[in-house]
């Protein structure tokens, strides 16, 4: 099945305990496109990526990647599929016992039989792309948050996957590396024919490279479309989110009881912190 859609979710429902995170989400991600997933903090963007990667199981609905139902694959097939997916974790998730070089080399050594000299060249190329070739001997604890995320990016593209999921690639980057990263993501996507999913709060950067954008809120897709479509959209959700206004349909607060009520009648916290 080689249709145009690489990732397809249908009627996706997911709960964390009693809390509904997704309530019927349909998403189509076209092959070769850059798709932005945006939404308020805590709506479940990271959760969505984990559902696509098969690390979490939906309560209802399906996720298809490259024509295969992710949650019906057996262990071997799922790992086969994951070899073709790269994922950049929100916090980098580097292996703390390996230095930068070995972190990037790790998936290559695990999945290929390439000679060390070839791996050396590949690793340096990936590190050069993210501007950290000089940092190859540092340990992850010696990196700043933004650097760690760039190393993680180099690691995610090490195996040249067919799709990459970026969880907040731009947070903690200065304007220069941000610009480089934005161009790099677009370049990788077009030059290697990848499919990219970007989860981000950086509206301008995401709008500037995404072919299509999904706005998630309250467990549903509240708006979708290209940058122009969203800008022109009359949807209150889209307008509020793109302009960053505090008031509107998108809630800024995690669901809670009424504020005044909480102040007057709520339970005080424990007197002693346990730490």
């Amino acid at each position: 099945m080689t249709d145009d859609i690489l990732v397809k979710t249908r009627d996706l429902c997911f709960k964390r305990g009693e809390r509904v995170i997704f309530d019927g989400v349909d998403i189509d991600i076209r092959r070769g496109s850059v798709t932005g997933i945006m939404g308020p903090s805590g709506t479940g963007k990271t959760t969505l990526l984990r559902l696509i990667g098969g690390q979490l199981f939906p309560d209802q609905g399906t996720v298809h990647v490259d024509g295969e139902n992710v949650h019906e694959l057996n262990h071997g097939q799922l790992y086969q599929l994951r070899q073709r997916m790269g994922m950049l974790f929100q916090n980098g998730a580097l292996l703390t016992d390996l230095n930068v070089y070995d972190n990037v080399a790790f998936p290559l050594r695990e999945h290929t039989n390439l000679s060390e000299s070839l791996i050396h060249k590949l690793v340096l190329m990936k590190l050069e792309a993210v501007g950290l070739r000089g940092a190859r001997d540092l340990m992850p604890t010696e990196l700043s948050g933004g650097m760690a995320r760039r190393v993680a990016l180099a690691r995610a593209i090490a195996l040249d996957p067919m799709m990459i999921m970026y969880d907040e690639p731009f947070t903690g980057q200065d304007p220069i590396s941000m610009g480089v990263l934005v161009r790099l993501i677009r370049l990788l996507n077009d030059a290697l024919g990848l499919t990219s999913i970007i989860v981000s709060h950086d509206i301008q950067e995401t709008l500037s490279i995404a072919d299509e954008i999904y706005l998630l809120s309250g467990g549903k897709v509240v708006a979708r479309g290209s940058t122009d479509e969203l800008n022109a959209s009359k949807s209150e959700w889209a307008q509020q989110f793109l302009k960053g206004q505090p008031d509107g349909p998108v809630p800024f607060h995690y669901s809670a009881v009424d504020y005044a009520d909480d102040l007057l009648n709520g339970h005080p916290g424990r007197a002693q912190s346990r730490v």
């Binding site: 690390q55 790992y79 086969q80 994951r82 916090n91 998730a93 292996l95 703390t96 790790f106 695990e110």
Partner: protein
């Protein structure tokens, strides 16, 4: 009252649920062992870190336990004029019981807790998750080599413990209290049976090694991914391993030496 029953029921179910998860993990680790054949280097490195790095504590403890056995045994035997049999007492106590048991307890404290903390932290910092997404199964890449290393290292450590203990006993017996050297060794050689004593001791230490390493790996992978969660898991590893070792020791001893 109902609440109490409910709470007890919940706890009970929780215990069985964890046991079930532990068994599934055990099964998955065993099924993943074959992937280590072409990559034995991973296991060798882990044998170094759980085994070789535990050597000092094992050797020192073995020496002292052997010396204490020598002194205590002498004090009792000398009343019966049987101090020549001191070699038997020291060797049998070490090979049958103290070697495997004390080594397992030390192993749980030295290597088991380290395994739990390492795996728990890898979980808390999403390293295990990241490996999964890189299509690298953490059970095969991280847990299976550590499990196999524990399986290999424990009997070796127990053997070293017993051997050093015997030497410690020899120092005390021959050097300190003046037991005849020839009698010490020859009585020991006569009385210690290869099958009854040595094999059974080795079986014990293998069982303890498997159980302690399994508990340590399971607690790590099942830890709540917070600093408190990992610290609790580490404590649980040491406590549960100790209980399991002592309980199993009774069962195994009853099976092996019950009819002798």
């Amino acid at each position: 009252m109902l609440n109490l029953l409910q709470e007890m029921g919940k706890r009970g179910l929780g215990v069985f649920e964890r046991l079930g998860r532990g068994c599934i993990l055990f099964y998955n680790i065993i099924m993943g062992l074959h992937t280590l054949i072409p990559r034995f280097g991973l296991v060798v490195y882990q044998v170094y870190s759980v085994g070789v790095l535990s050597l000092i504590i094992i050797v020192v403890s073995g020496l002292f336990v052997g010396m204490v056995l020598g002194l205590q045994g002498y004090n009792t035997l000398v009343d019966f004029g049987a101090e020549e049999s001191l070699g038997i007492v020291v060797a049998l106590a070490l090979v049958r019981e103290l070697g495997p048991v004390v080594t397992a307890l030390l192993f749980a404290g030295r290597a088991g807790s380290a395994l739990t903390a390492e795996i728990g932290l890898m979980k808390a910092t999403e390293q295990l998750s990241a490996m999964e997404m890189m299509a690298i199964d953490p059970i095969r890449r991280v847990m299976a080599p550590r499990f196999l290393a524990g399986f290999i290292a424990m009997p070796l450590l127990a053997a070293i413990f017993s051997a050093v203990g015997v030497i410690g006993g020899y120092f005390v017996a021959v050097g300190l209290v003046g037991v005849d050297e020839g009698a010490f060794w020859s009585q020991m050689q006569d009385a210690v049976d290869l099958y009854d004593d040595i094999y059974n001791g080795v079986i014990k230490s293998v069982v303890f090694g498997v159980v302690v390493t399994w508990i340590a790996i399971f607690e790590g992978s099942d830890a709540i991914p917070t600093s408190e969660g990992v610290s609790r898991a580490t404590t649980r590893t040491v406590v549960h391993s100790a209980l399991a070792v002592l309980g199993l020791d009774f069962v195994l001893t009853a099976l092996m030496f019950g009819e002798i």
